[in-house]
Symmetry: C2
Subunit: 143 residues, 2 copies
DNA sequence: ATATTATTAGGAATAATTCCTAATTAAGTG
DNA sequence: CACTTAATTAGGAATTATTCCTAATAATAT
């Protein structure tokens, strides 16, 4: 897990400017367990910095993705973001839309094996399992 | 790998109508190694059935997804489709956009383990590795 | 303090997908 | 085979997440 200060100084080291908008976005992503959409990030960040625009949120997310400081997955035509960037499994609830992370050490090995076999140069991985979370699953049963 | 006849009769058994549009779309998906987008499917199918509309392609794909006869993955804001529906890894080239499949037997085990740990009911999985394919990789090097 | 230049706000433009409806047609029935 | 009816389709309009554009703003170096 990254710290806000680390990320900020790594951005500064690359000659990028540290703006309140960027700080607020990174701060929120580090603190939340959610995998928020751009719009949700915008809504949340706006509470403290009302002038932040949605286009700035998108631009900042692009920047953070490029620097590998956040991870993006697409769920039902919408991008969802996460500061948890090491290999893991994303569990996606098809009912309530929540996303949980699970670590699985064998993923790295699978990736290396697939890279060798396919001769691809792998730059990013994304392991998704879609279904119903524990709470939505039981709600269904009781109907 | 499914056969066209199997799929058609399974659709018919559910009371669905067998139309030339549906046959053409399923037939193409079964024959191709590509992971075509809806638009590409439309273009290809149109050559033989010029009257097929894009909205019918989308509707048919929805139907086939629901019946678990095709798999969908989203790449750069665009859905890509594949008749290869058992667990596998999708290798996605970030340069040319091609997608290769690789089998990996341990995926099933990982999925079961994650389901147990998370208490999710898993309905669908999607394992993606993004990077450069062998050919795009070497092109980059030579620049 | 000032100059420079990256960044931002805000809205317009884009593009994949979904939605809508009248026309068509697959398939069951006598 | 002709007829019925309800599913399916074509075509285009509507939707929506994201990208693009540009003048205004503000972070940073000097």
């Amino acid at each position: 897990m990254q710290q806000l200060e680390q990320i900020i100084s790594s951005l500064r080291d690359e000659g990028l400017r540290i703006t309140p908008q960027r700080i607020a976005i990174v701060d929120y992503l580090l603190k939340t367990e959610d995998h928020p959409s751009a719009e949700l990030i915008h809504k949340v960040v706006r509470k403290r910095y009302p002038m932040v625009s949605l286009s700035t949120v998108y631009k900042t997310l692009d920047l953070l993705k490029e620097k590998k400081l956040v991870n993006e997955i697409e769920v039902e035509g919408e991008a969802r973001f996460d500061a948890h960037t090491d290999e893991h499994i994303n569990l996606i609830c098809m009912k309530c839309g929540k996303i949980d992370d699970i670590d699985e050490e064998y993923l790295k090995e699978i990736q290396v094996k697939a890279a060798k076999k396919s001769k691809y140069l792998i730059l990013k991985s994304n392991f998704e399992l879609h279904g119903y979370c524990n709470s939505c699953k039981s709600k269904t049963k009781s109907i």
